[in-house]
Symmetry: D2
Subunit: 351 residues, 4 copies
């Protein structure tokens, strides 16, 4: 594994494709302060030549990096140890096959998550042109896939809704205690729509809005089910619904299940605590979590309530961190033999 970190002082050379969106912005916010990484390339075609601090004004004064155009010949990127792709869906499909074999690659888009070409076509609206390469990708849900991630060269970083939902369901599926239909009522902040202004993120409306969208058809549904099948015998019906919250950051999933027998919250807590005993970034809380306490962090907070065989799991995370850039860096750490918390030990703010 050529790019494994050799000494404490050597730094991983990191490249970011798509540095102008929110995923890229968060990668920069995290990686610029990562003790074992150095960002040596960040692309943003529409901002090429501009300084990073001019585009992401939160980073003004903190970096001298300048946005570059993505090079035509990607093979020239041979000196990079790790490449993050934070591009709109469909672009990684074109880029990954052309990247040098030497570099580890972490794709934050949905391009390489699904093992089924049919599901990809159905949910992403295009033919998958690199299904053979897809099979080399490892799904980067760090908490349940560390060993494969440690050996992987190519990582498909999970979706934000998928991460929140999967982390809330995995211990239950793994322990075979679910029965029947599972209802997931999921809500996301407006940054989930990306950095480009659009009518659904127009401030005068959004600040007083709450509504559902893409009912039954969100592209994270097949991703969630595929991931659950790797954990246990998932055959339940999944009703998954996405809603829009009038906040910038945060995903909250209310997961309604029936258990095979009656359970107390203590029973459930024990199952989750055991399942996540080595997972620093999953925090179990009493009662309900709150997106307010995970904003801008890599934590996923999980709480429960029970009544007889009815169980509700509440899962909360920041869509841009544990749901995107933070988990991507967590995966880089695992791939490179670094403590997975490195560079991710920041608290959220209060308030």
């Amino acid at each position: 594994m050529g790019s494994k970190l050799k000494t404490e002082n050597s730094k991983l050379r990191v490249g970011i494709f798509g540095g102008s969106g929110y995923g890229g912005a968060e990668l920069l916010r995290i990686l610029l302060f990562h003790p074992h990484a150095e960002v040596t390339l960040v692309t943003a075609n529409e901002h090429a030549g501009k300084s990073v601090g001019e585009v992401h004004r939160n980073l003004h004064g903190l970096t001298d990096l300048v946005f570059a155009k993505a090079p035509d010949d990607l093979a020239t990127l041979g000196d990079l140890d790790c490449i993050f792709l934070a591009l709109p869906h469909g672009q990684a499909l074109e880029i990954v096959p052309r990247l040098p074999q030497r570099a580890k690659v972490i794709d934050l888009s949905g391009d390489f998550r699904l093992q089924s070409a049919d599901e990809f076509l159905q949910h992403y609206g295009r033919e998958h042109t690199a299904m053979k390469l897809q099979r080399e990708f490892v799904y980067g849900l760090t908490e349940t896939n560390r060993e494969a991630i440690a050996q992987a060269r190519l990582i498909a970083n999970p979706g934000c809704f998928a991460t929140a939902t999967f982390l809330g369901l995995a211990p239950l599926v793994s322990n075979k205690i679910l029965s029947g239909r599972v209802v997931v009522d999921a809500k996301t902040g407006s940054s989930g729509s990306g950095a480009k202004a659009a009518s659904n993120t127009h401030h005068p409306q959004r600040m007083t809005s709450f509504y559902a969208y893409k009912p039954f058809t969100h592209q994270h549904v097949p991703e969630i089910e595929q991931a659950l099948r790797t954990i246990g015998d998932w055959t339940n019906e999944l009703v998954f619904m996405t809603h829009s919250l009038p906040v910038a950051r945060g995903i909250f999933a209310s997961i309604y299940v029936e258990t095979k027998s009656e359970m107390t919250t203590e029973d459930v807590h024990k199952i989750f605590a055991d399942f996540y005993r080595d997972s620093f970034f999953v925090r179990l809380v009493k009662g309900s979590p709150d997106i307010n306490w995970v904003k801008a962090t890599n934590f996923c907070d999980i709480g429960f309530a029970t009544r007889g065989r009815q169980l509700v799991v509440f899962s909360a995370l920041d869509n841009l961190v544990k749901g995107a850039a933070g988990q991507a860096v967590q995966n880089m750490n695992v791939m490179c033999g670094i403590d997975e918390k490195t560079g991710l030990m920041f608290a959220g703010t209060n308030p």
Copy 2:
């Protein structure tokens, strides 16, 4: 019916108990412009002697009303045609028995909604001391109870969550098309917590929060089930979960059901359109409603999505209007033989 409106020019004499909270504020906002009503008494013990426009600064310049102390001898209120009680839970219990028989009474609290003294004790934490009187109360869900309301002297005005949930479920229960467990994921704005500052409505936290509260135990659960049993053969399991939204106004309920056979959204639309054909304030929408479009109005907007036998009903209303003061005025109209839309024909704002 002595207080029925006799001519177009006579006005109902209206009293409001509890004019300083949000329910009272909305009653004033509506009734001050109601063409057939005149507010002649509004109480707020802690503000007695202050002008209404000083306390509710939105009303400054629009009324000369002054807050009064609630009179010790309620029998003196014999000249009132209609009395609204917008008091904290537990106070109507003491007041209603002492009100003059002549006046119609609309209680916005939970004091007289439940027919079971046990459920009342369990959910409101006190013994019910007037169960005999409770039996004279009519449940004021206008859309399904107009005939009884028209004959009633005493109205128990429905809760905000109960209204949103009931309106989304009633056509399905009435048409006997539900099967199995019903999951209601309900969300409310911060005004649902009332006009008094509290830690859960502290702005620095609340503006970036979303969380669940009172899991499985919200006091509107027995109210919803009691109301559904009046509509059809309700025996389904109800999983009801309340969450807090970072907006001031609005309730959004995502109602997950299974239907006995497969249905399209058109099938569902037909059932709802038929059920609510005489109900101006229920608006059926394509796709999802949005609390943004019902804020400050008396509308309940309802939309649907289906997949096979899975059906989701989305119900959105303003907790302070259709969920409280607006529905109360709608009930006053029906009780007094006035068109139920009178005084309630205001649009929400855009944005």
Copy 3:
């Protein structure tokens, strides 16, 4: 005056050009409930054929109006009594000359506000092509211009910042008590940027933003100064600064002046109370007003603080109502001999 309202039952036939923006949306919200007006035409080229309630979902169920294309031959609009133009800057310039002479016209844009072609060019970035017609326009700041408005056929409806600032300064200028430089620190909600999504109204950023824009160069500066010169001997230096607030609605202007001699807040209150004694929509408040209490209303709330010769006037209004559509309807009322409050007697909400 052919279009003066003849009887209580006849209704003004009203047309709205530009019904899809926020100005048009508010005109519809107000005029659909105006007792003496009937909207018979509303244009929105990009939505032609769609129902108004589909585009402005707050109006769903409240009107059967359908958006029309603006007719090529405007002379065909001879049956309209009053035409509102709520179009982007520059379009009224083309349209007004072609409108039938019979109709009263109220233009909400900046096209006909400035008497100086040079200032128009400088601030609106185009040559003024109808300066002769401009001279027929009356400036529609209702509170100080009622008599001229009552006689006018063409009204240039004031800008939102201009209205807030002018109403805060007019009594002082009229009473000749100012000395030296005037500093206006003005703030607006995001709806001031219009109904089209843009980067400065992108929700994830805007909800936590506050910043200044267009320093010293806002197009309302010459409008304010021109209006102040009609009131008194305005020769003071005006420093006018606009800022963006993270709310949808509201303008708040903090106006810093020096008075020729020391004044108490009571002195100032007396001057304002006298100046606005016939102006229902100007409310004087103790201490500071709050945009929260004028949102969605036609009120401008004004308060004061003094220290020796230092005086600060605080002026708050809703940019879309008193700052646009509300004032436009107020002007229509005055033009048509109707009580100026007609159709505008709605309170804001609490909360």
Copy 4:
């Protein structure tokens, strides 16, 4: 200086009095990750015995600290190198005299900022009982007072408004280019009101509010003027006005001055760049800063606009960080001979 940091591995032993408020919460968020500090005591009388992560849920999982009661005998705290007081105004007055002489003390309240007992009485409503000790305090505006801070044992940490205003005015006062009256229109987020719920921070109202408060009388006025007199010949009239913003974090000051001669923004930029050439945490920006880009950071962003002799300086910072806890840690670093950026190199988020 016994407590100067001796080696890179030794850590300062730090105590925090008042760890439950927002100032204490931010101190913890920063100091828990400070490489050269270890929090060994944090008091919060009402939470004594509770874990820090239970009270500040953003810190859950990140620390094992438990809140303690403040000890009766403060002399027992002899092992602390640095003590932060983040208490309500008036408490430090009682505590500081009783603290061991050995520890450095940084007081975040207003208790020891003012050199005039009369001004203290007037603005804080109580007699100052320790004016002799006050004279030992050094004003902790790091950027202009580093040398004195480096030698100090006792620091009066500046107020949030004072920091924003002073940093915007200091280069101008120092360079003697101001003439006449200075108007400061300052706005703060809701966290400035503290962690306790109150009517002015009640979410349903605050989210749509903007208003002025404490006109002419804010307690930071004498603090600002006292600080400016240490920088230059400050005799100008200061008009200072505070307003409330509907965001959690951020102060924005619009500072209106007249310069003795005409200046361009480039002229002004040069003066500020020179004045702050060694001040990492002051960032000069083109045009206006935005509180969005400094939130949760220790930066103060400053921009300008000019017109002839009119100059507006815009100053933006996070009231809890550069305006409180961040500057306090910056001062600790300077006092202890550590690079002043240590532990403060975190970027704000985008969005």
